[in-house]
């Protein structure tokens, strides 16, 4: 009688262990795919910003006759991001676009007529909102990577991760230019 009970209990425990192992593996696959999905979500917003740039340049051209260099920088950055194929290149291009936009909006301060233009203010607002959303989505991407990296190193997941060849994934880092100290000078 006791033997039968022990066999059933052991059988259930073994079955439980198998299911548990499968659930760990499935979980690892999910978190790995979450990373790719998070990055795709960043790219969706980058694409939206990318589509807004020509409209912005077109509006600015009407008022900023003497700022060709600034406008061309935006176009160059946009073209570069279009041709970027690797994640590193895309990251660099993204940094260039952000930098060019910063300069453009700073220069726009000198053109009151441009600032008063409804289309410009609408585009500026939309691009700023997209910038914020891109930053949020990058955070989300980093969190996805972090969850995955922790899981593949944690016991008991580590055994299955190693056996199945799951490898660490890199976090997104801001371009070095964005991390430089900002020089602020006050006019006397």
């Amino acid at each position: 009688m006791t033997g039968a009970v022990v066999i059933v209990v052991l059988g259930l425990l073994i079955l439980g262990c198998i299911f548990y192992g499968v659930s760990i593996y499935n979980g690892l696959v999910t978190v790995k795919n979450n990373i790719d999905k998070s990055w795709s979500n960043v790219e969706v917003l980058l694409k939206q910003r990318h589509d807004e740039l020509p409209k912005l340049v077109k509006v600015c051209e009407r008022y900023m006759k003497h700022e060709r260099e600034t406008l061309e920088r935006v176009i160059r950055a946009r073209n570069f991001s279009e041709s970027a194929s690797t994640p590193e290149e895309r990251g660099k291009a993204d940094g260039m676009v952000a930098e060019a936009l910063k300069s453009l909006f700073a220069v726009a301060e000198r053109y009151p007529e441009l600032k008063a233009d409804e289309q410009f203010s609408h585009l500026q607002e939309r691009i700023s909102r997209l910038e914020n959303e891109i930053a949020d989505r990058r955070e989300l991407y980093n969190e996805s990577v972090n969850i995955y990296n922790i899981r593949i190193e944690r016991i008991p997941d580590v055994f299955i991760a190693r056996a199945m060849g799951f490898e660490k994934r890199p976090l997104w880092h801001a371009p070095a230019s964005d991390l430089k100290d900002v020089e602020i000078t006050f006019s006397s």
């Binding site: 009970v5 059933v8 259930l12 079955l15 979450n34 979500n41 989300l140």
Partner: protein, 645 residues
């Protein structure tokens, strides 16, 4: 003689009351009355007159009325014997205004007159016996305590071929107007082609002619305990409406007009000052929370789904049926395969129940074995939930991606919802009313009623944005539980619920402003395709009305649009819409994933939730093993003893 008295039913009606019920203290000598707690709460905090108790024992109803009145709740008794007036229903066809009286005549020339200083009740209903006003009127009226003009309110009353009743509160007389069959010639030049406009004008005329009449627009299914859906059929509606009107006029005559704090609508120009009984547009199954006194201070719309409540008659093994619902909601039973959830799960409980009744080890073994399978599966569902909570990163609401998301933030109400017992603004509530019953020296706790708010959508907001959460089929984990008890003394809860003797109400709520964790599926509330479809339909409708535009498609110039030309016009509209850039952003809503899966709403932190789910998973796994072991032990025992069952 005695038989006649036995047939008579006495109804206890309560009216609106502005008194702060939470300040009332229970008194030792008050006994239990058997009053429906939630009906009292509804009527007292809402604006309507409502039957809260019925009995053939006059004394019992009278005692109940005394008890409520001592608590400051306006109450009156109406007996079926007083309803004889309904037999003499007067269908009015025309109106005449004299110096001191108003004359209503029927088609045969018979008259019913009302003195202009007479107190009257004016009742309203639409042709299907339901609502008489638009939503906006209900909102205006919910603020009746503030400066709301009668004209403003009346402009929203929409009778739409319904009935108007006028019943005296001084004498047993009344008339009913079928607004489709009335002579509106008295309106003269103001007479309109629209029956609704005429009916509204008649209604204005009536209320302007009497000093502060009482207006009631609450007729509908369930307005009285005896009125059901079947009474709203065209052949029955007039008599049922008259019955309701007479009943309410009797309740007002029997003291409720003086005792109740009926909302008074102020006059402005034409119209007249009048009292409102409840809020128009309410009828039938009404929302407990929506009727709270707080309605007057909010502009939130009523919830899109009615609250759920159940009154179980029999208790299964001492378990309240609601426990299964709690399980489904809080323990992830929704995620179980259909066969386990619907067949094996209930079957295991039936086996255990039968084993309990018949003392059969075979049935017990069968019950335990099937329970073991269900709990084994459930442990992995819970493990999956735990893993999802751990695996999905927390997103900000401003940049919420579509698909499975995890978000945190404070909850805000999207619809008007207040917990029924504690009267706290909340986004979700559930309650159970328990009563200790004494029988043959023994006592046991039985469930009188249990229910919840149903899936009412709410808003979640963090520092970056907000999103709508539709909690349909969500696992709701946590919430604040509060217990209110009458114990040996009856009392009234802060929400105005009457707690009779030995009655305990347990309430679980997620109050507004609570920090919530939500794991669910984010998607636009409406799809782009639906939006386009709607736009196309609208444009085609407009095109049909625009003759000049249609001419552009009249290629053969015959002044007619044939099917070929119409098809071309339709395609042009479609193309126009498709080429348009979509403007604006559609609202995002978090729901249960369309293909099923994890949808959790909790007031716990992510870490706390993971711990809870891990514990539940381990517990169900342990239970599964223990019940399997016990089942095998019983079966082998049976075989060892007798060689078979």
């Amino acid at each position: 003689m005695e038989k006649v008295e036995k047939k008579e039913v006495f109804s206890l009606v309560v009216g609106p009351c502005e008194r702060e019920l939470s300040s009332l203290s229970p008194r030792a000598e008050e006994g239990g009355t058997g009053i429906d707690l939630f009906a009292v709460k509804q009527a007292v905090n809402g604006g309507s007159l409502k039957v809260v108790f019925q009995s053939r024992e006059k004394e019992r109803v009278r005692d109940a009325r005394k008890l409520l009145e001592e608590k400051g709740i306006p109450a009156a008794v109406v007996s079926t014997g007083e309803m004889k007036e309904v037999r003499f229903l007067f269908p009015a066809f025309s109106w005449k205004e004299g110096g001191k009286e108003i004359l209503f005549s029927d088609r045969t020339g018979k008259n019913v007159s009302f003195r202009k200083d007479e107190k009257v009740l004016v009742t309203l209903t639409s042709k299907d016996g339901m609502f008489v006003s638009r939503k906006k009127a209900a909102r205006l009226l919910s603020a009746a305590g503030e400066e709301v003009s009668a004209g403003e309110v009346l402009s929203h009353v929409f009778i739409e071929g319904g009935f108007i009743g006028v019943f005296s509160l001084d004498e047993p007389k009344g008339i009913v107007v079928d607004t489709n069959r009335f002579d509106y010639s008295f309106l003269g030049e103001q007479r309109s082609l629209s029956r609704n406009v005429n009916a509204r004008a008649l209604f204005r005329k009536i209320i302007a002619s009497f000093p502060a009449p009482v207006v009631d627009a609450n007729f509908g299914p369930g307005a009285l305990p005896s009125i059901g859906d079947g009474d709203l059929k065209p052949e029955k509606i007039l008599r049922t409406f008259a019955y309701y009107s007479v009943f309410i006029s009797r309740a007002l005559r029997n003291g409720l007009l003086e005792k109740s704090d009926l909302p008074r609508v102020k006059t402005e120009g034409e119209g007249g000052e009048f009292y409102w009984v409840g809020k128009p547009g309410r009828a039938g199954k009404q929302r407990v929370a929506g009727e709270s006194g707080e309605a007057s201070s909010t502009s939130l719309s009523p919830p899109p789904v009615p609250p759920r409540s159940f009154r179980p008659r029999r208790i299964f093994l001492g378990l309240r049926p609601g426990i299964f619902d709690d399980f489904k909601r809080g323990w992830g039973l929704e995620g179980l395969p259909f066969i386990l959830r619907v067949v094996l799960g209930p079957l295991s409980l039936v086996f255990i129940f039968l084993a309990y009744a018949s003392r059969s080890p075979v049935l017990l073994a069968a019950g335990l074995a099937s329970f073991s399978v269900v709990s084994f599966a459930l442990s992995f569902i819970l493990l999956k939930q735990k893993r999802e909570v751990e695996n999905v990163p927390t997103a900000k609401l401003r940049s919420l991606p579509m698909g499975l998301v995890e978000v945190t933030g404070r909850c805000r109400r999207k619809h008007f919802l207040v917990s029924p017992v504690s009267s706290i603004p909340c986004v979700y509530y559930s309650y159970v009313i328990l009563e200790r019953v004494y029988r043959t020296g023994k006592s046991r706790v039985v469930v009188r009623e249990w229910g919840d708010s149903g899936p009412v959508p709410f808003i979640l907001e963090d520092e970056t944005g907000r999103v709508t959460v539709d909690p349909k089929n969500a696992s709701i984990i946590g919430g604040r539980t509060q217990t209110f008890s009458g114990r040996e003394k009856p009392s009234i809860s802060p929400g105005g619920v009457f707690l009779g003797e030995n009655v305990t109400v347990k309430e679980n709520i997620i109050p507004e402003g609570e920090q919530l964790y939500v794991l669910g599926y984010a998607s636009p509330a409406r799809s782009l395709a639906e939006d386009r479809e709607k736009k196309i339909r609208e444009r085609i409708k407009n095109l049909k009305k625009n003759a000049d535009k249609l001419k552009e498609f009249d290629e053969d110039g015959d002044g007619q649009i044939d099917s070929f030309e119409w098809e071309k016009a339709r395609r042009a509209v479609e193309m126009e819409v498709l080429l348009e850039k979509d403007s604006g952003e559609s609202e995002i809503v978090i729901t249960r994933p369309p293909e099923g899966g994890v949808f959790i709403i909790s007031d716990r932190s992510e870490r706390g939730l993971v711990r809870k789910l891990a514990f539940r998973s381990a517990l169900t796994f342990g239970l599964s093993i223990a019940s399997a072991a016990l089942a095998v032990f019983l079966i082998t025992g049976i075989f060892a003893r007798g060689g078979g069952p």
